[in-house]
């Protein structure tokens, strides 16, 4: 076993190489903009240079004079599109700001024109020659800008149902022996997946094919159909590979229906490749947040009072929020809890989910505060977590289905060498470098959604699995193939997997870390349907058992029992008994507690995720612990993070290789969020300043010297048939706080605002 392919522990699958590895290393993996089109025209976007106001006029003469220009589409001649509601209000859209509809400008970088030309080069040149006259109004950029409005999230965001509370926070906080009040800030961040936000649209008669990197092909298909006013069955979204998502491709953006509408009118395929900077404003992002945490504890470290107030920025029309108090109020035992989430509206594009949307900002606040409390108590921060560990969440009193938080802390602490740490800040150095150790808890809700699958088995063992899942780098192909191979007892190399196509059976959005749990549960179920048919062929006593079942309602048929067990199956014998060439089954799986309409919703592109704290009698989360070494140069204040160590428990690990890679990437994302990433906002113009990959800092290889991922064995039989908790968003949650806690240990300076850069280190 190599580092990349860890030895599986109990309840882990084999660390087989990725199903799509050969395609990805040879350039044969086809992403949306790689798809061949027949004689395409090229689109180039023109975006608004003001954040608020109106377009007075366009001067298009110069642009039209460019050789090869076919058309320039503005609000005056744009295809008429129907509105789509925000996904959280029952629609499909990530924003209700619909460009090309009127002269109004709602945010900087809003699409205001689309140039169509014979070549990419001509479209780009003409777009640069479009002249626009605006009447600008001073915009509100962010928190503290004049003209923003603030209100509680509850009541304006349908998905934010409660400000969690229990007991009497005010009285308990007043009476607490040890108190902490602290405020924390997180910045706006952009996903910046490597693949640009490209869209190609091709019509064949009344049927539309969309090639676009999407984390939800069923949502996009239904959303575009709604906007175009056509039957969803006439729209097909295809993306066998997606060049990174991180949440940016989970909901529909306005560009898709616009391009589809223009392609229809032109009667020609259109290919849009937006620029990197346009991606900052034509899609979503993680909005900036502010937090106030109040903790009250006894001298023994037991929490007696916890209050978390969070504020988040959203756009004028859309009340998007992540509301991470649902997690921070339930993580530790505490009898008196209060919380409040509010939304501040500014003249910005609508934010959206970005990897671990609620947990990244909200746990940064809580896990920093826990470290501050440990300092006040003169207590080891690991021990503070241990004292407040709980198997029952305090708000609803529901038990965790499984919780390996402290096991993760102990494993990671051991691997990291935490016991060697001297608790005194600024006590360790190496030449010019101050060294600090820090840690934090990490967690993410276990979520699932209804999913369908189709599986076809041939006599020779060749298997085809069809499911409209999404390969965004998570290893979807691989774990689906492993699930089918294992369940049917066929060799892995005989399994072919098809995902990323809305003509396949529906799978949920690849978001909320639900994909593996949902798709693999569906594939398992459908494989069991096949096993049942085959067992039935070779177990003739079924008819008697069926009869018994019908008459007295007892006992499953032997074939059903055998199908649901791990009993090996002689496929050839069963096929011969059946006398068929192919056995194919389709099935729809839904998680326990899914709403009644969830299968209908699944087909119409609405993923009904259940899990986390919203389960009926239980609460399900994956947990982990992260330890970080930072080095701060005492003269230049340069900050490095040479060691990141994380231990994680997330139920069944389908493939330790892909799981480790995802968690490793998550830890690096967390480091990046703590030390590098921020979208800088021009406060006067409500404009993103660093909208490119040179100025929006993401880690490069030299930033990442040492990452260690420890996978803990954990079995949870109370979540879903696959036993999977999901881990794509688990690792980048705790890192922010762990790094700030380590910086405190290195320097004695507590930093409560991300990202931490050298100019933020005082001395």
């Amino acid at each position: 076993m190599t580092a990349a392919a860890p030895e599986p522990k109990a309840n882990m699958g084999q660390p087989v190489p990725r199903y799509d590895a050969a395609a990805k290393v040879t350039g044969r993996a086809t992403y949306a903009s790689d798809m061949p089109l027949d004689n395409p025209a090229y689109a180039f976007l023109v975006t608004s240079a003001i954040a608020k106001g109106r377009i007075d006029s366009f001067d298009l003469d110069d642009a039209r004079s460019v050789r090869g220009v076919i058309d320039i589409v503005t609000h005056e001649n744009a295809p008429k599109l129907k509105e789509s509601k925000l996904f959280s209000n029952g629609g499909y859209a990530g924003t209700t700001i619909q460009p090309l509809k009127s002269v109004d400008i709602a945010h900087d970088g809003q699409i205001i024109a689309v140039v169509i030309a014979e070549s990419y080069e001509a479209a780009r040149e003409a777009a640069n020659r479009v002249k626009v006259s605006y009447t600008a109004v001073a915009p509100s950029a962010s928190f503290d800008s004049p003209g923003t409005t603030a209100a509680a999230a509850k009541g304006q965001n349908a998905q934010f149902k409660e400000d969690a509370e229990v007991g009497d926070f005010a009285r308990a906080f007043d009476a607490a022996e040890v108190k902490l009040t602290a405020s924390y800030d997180t910045p706006a961040q952009h996903h910046n997946p490597m693949e640009l936000f490209t869209t190609s649209c091709a019509w064949m008669g009344d049927n539309l094919v969309i090639y676009e990197g999407s984390q939800y092909v069923y949502g996009l298909k239904n959303g575009v159909a709604e906007q175009l006013g056509i039957d969803a069955d006439k729209v097909r979204v295809v993306n066998p590979y997606v060049g990174g998502g991180f949440g940016s491709r989970g909901s529909m953006t306005p560009r898709t229906a616009i391009i589809a509408g223009i392609a229809k009118r032109l009667n020609r395929p259109i290919k849009l490749v937006p620029t990197r900077d346009q991606g900052f404003t034509i899609a979503t992002y993680r909005a900036e947040t502010r937090h106030e945490i109040r903790l009250g504890a006894g001298r023994d470290g037991r929490l007696v009072a916890l209050r978390h107030d969070g504020a988040e920025v959203s756009s004028r029309p859309d009340a998007y929020c992540v509301g991470g108090t649902k997690t921070t109020t339930r993580l530790y035992a505490c009898p008196n809890v209060a919380s409040l989430v509010s939304i501040v509206r500014a003249d910005r594009n609508t934010p959206g989910f970005m990897r671990s949307p609620p947990e990244v900002p909200y746990l940064f606040a809580l896990e920093s505060a826990m470290d501050e409390l440990a300092v006040k108590l003169n207590m080891d921060p690991v021990e503070l977590r241990r004292i407040n560990d709980t198997n029952v969440e305090p708000i609803g009193g529901k038990p965790y289905t499984s919780r390996s938080l402290m096991a993760c802390f102990d494993e990671a602490a051991k691997a990291f060498g935490w016991s060697q740490r001297s608790p005194q800040p600024k006590s360790v150095s190496d030449g010019d470098w101050l060294i600090g150790y820090g840690c934090a808890a990490t967690c993410y809700p276990t979520q699932m959604a209804p999913s369908a699958a189709r599986v076809r088995l041939q006599r020779d063992g060749r298997t085809r699995v069809e499911i409209a899942g999404h390969e965004i780098g998570t290893g979807a192909y691989t774990v689906i193939a492993q699930t089918a191979a294992e369940r049917l007892g066929v060799p892995l190399e005989k399994v072919a997997v098809f995902v990323g196509d809305s003509d396949l059976p529906p799978a949920p959005v690849a978001g909320g870390s639900n994909s593996t749990a949902s798709t693999c549960s569906a594939v398992m179920m459908v494989c069991d349907q096949i096993r049942q048919r085959l067992f039935k062929a070779v177990m003739p006593s079924d008819s008697l058992a069926d009869k018994a079942k019908e008459t007295v309602g007892i006992s499953q048929a032997p074939s059903t029992q055998a199908a649901k067990s791990d009993r090996p199956l002689d496929i050839e014998k069963a096929f011969d008994a059946l006398g068929v060439g192919i056995v194919e089954e389709y099935g729809e799986w839904k998680p326990e507690g899914a709403p009644l309409d969830s299968f209908m919703a699944m087909h119409s592109g609405h993923a009904r995720l259940v899990g986390g704290h919203q389960m009926k009698d239980k609460i399900a989360y994956a947990f982990g612990a992260e330890f970080v070494e930072v080095r701060v140069n005492r003269f230049t204040h340069e900050i490095r993070a040479p060691r990141l160590v994380g231990a994680f428990a997330a139920g069944r690990i389908m493939n330790p290789r892909t799981a480790r890679s995802q968690l490793m990437g998550g830890l690096i994302w967390g480091m990046s969020s703590a030390l590098l990433e921020a979208t800088e906002i021009d406060q006067r113009n409500a404009r993103y300043v660093n909208d490119n990959l040179a100025d929006y800092l993401v880690p490069v290889n030299a930033d990442v010297p040492g990452v260690e991922v420890i996978l803990l064995s954990e079995q949870d039989d109370h979540i879903n048939p696959a036993g999977v908790k999901g881990l794509g968003e688990l690792a980048n949650v705790g890192t922010n706080a762990a790094i700030c806690n380590a910086i405190y240990h290195a320097t004695g300076q507590r930093i409560r605002k991300l990202p931490v850069r050298l100019e933020n280190i005082e001395a």
Binding site: T2, A3, A4, A5, P17, R18, A21, A22, A23, K24, V25, T26, G27, R28, A29, Y31, S33, D34, P36, R67, G68, S119, Y120, E121, R124, E125, N128, N192, P193, M194, E195, L196, Y241, G243, G244, F246, T275, R276, G473, T474, R657, R660, S661, Q662, M664, G665, W669, N692, L693, A694, V698, P699, V700, N701, A702, D703, V704, P705, G706, V707
Partner: protein
């Protein structure tokens, strides 16, 4: 279709084009003004297609393309070699990295006309007879990618990194592979892959 079969001289004066417009290709308006001053007929309207022959993965490819076309867009849009990826079009991310005369270059900042007469190697040209190149195999073995979008650029860069003699230590590999962004952050696995493939590539 802009790709043409057959071979022969392009008939386009690259020197004149370079003087007139190529350096300003990312600023079309400046390019236009400069070209008019120079009174170079082909460059007076950069949208007028020009003939160019690119040698890609050992084969000559004749193209009739907009003079401002980059190597990346020539590969992707005109030669249907979509392995090289567009991640920024500004030379900031490295996803478009190809080898030109064995040097790694960002093909999004290289005009197709400027690459005429040089040997372009793309990800599609690395594997031979269905055998993966040692670097490709090392990327598979070490799970050195997730979404895979940056991978062709990483691999081309990694091959050059080894041949440049910059794969002697992990620290060197990290430094000399830092022109290629991997947003999934497979970095430690990329370092492991380069380390694994380096001896085999140097051997032969």
């Amino acid at each position: 279709m802009s790709e043409k079969s057959g071979s022969g001289p392009s008939g386009f004066d690259r020197r004149a084009f370079m003087a007139g417009a190529a350096g300003s290709a990312l600023v079309p308006m400046a390019a236009r003004a400069a070209a008019q001053d120079a009174n170079v007929s082909a460059a007076s309207d950069p949208a007028l297609p020009v003939d160019v022959t690119l040698r890609v993965n050992g084969k000559d490819k004749r193209l009739h393309i907009d003079a401002r076309t980059t190597v990346l867009d020539a590969l992707r849009e005109h030669l249907k070699l979509t392995g090289s990826k567009k991640g920024c079009d500004h030379g900031q991310c490295g996803a478009c990295t190809v080898l030109i005369d064995d040097r790694r270059v960002v093909s999004c900042l290289t005009l197709a006309l400027a690459a005429e007469g040089q040997e372009i190697t793309t990800i599609e040209g690395l594997a031979t007879d269905d055998h993966l190149h040692p670097m490709q195999q090392a990327f598979v073995d070490n799970d050195a990618f997730q979404c895979g979008y940056c991978t062709p650029g990483q691999i081309m860069s990694a091959v050059a990194c080894v041949k440049e003699g910059h794969a002697g230590s992990e620290a060197d590999i990290r430094e000399y592979m830092s022109g290629n962004i991997c947003r999934c952050a497979a970095y430690p696995n990329i370092v492991a892959a380069v380390k694994q493939a380096a001896p085999e590539i140097m051997k032969g």
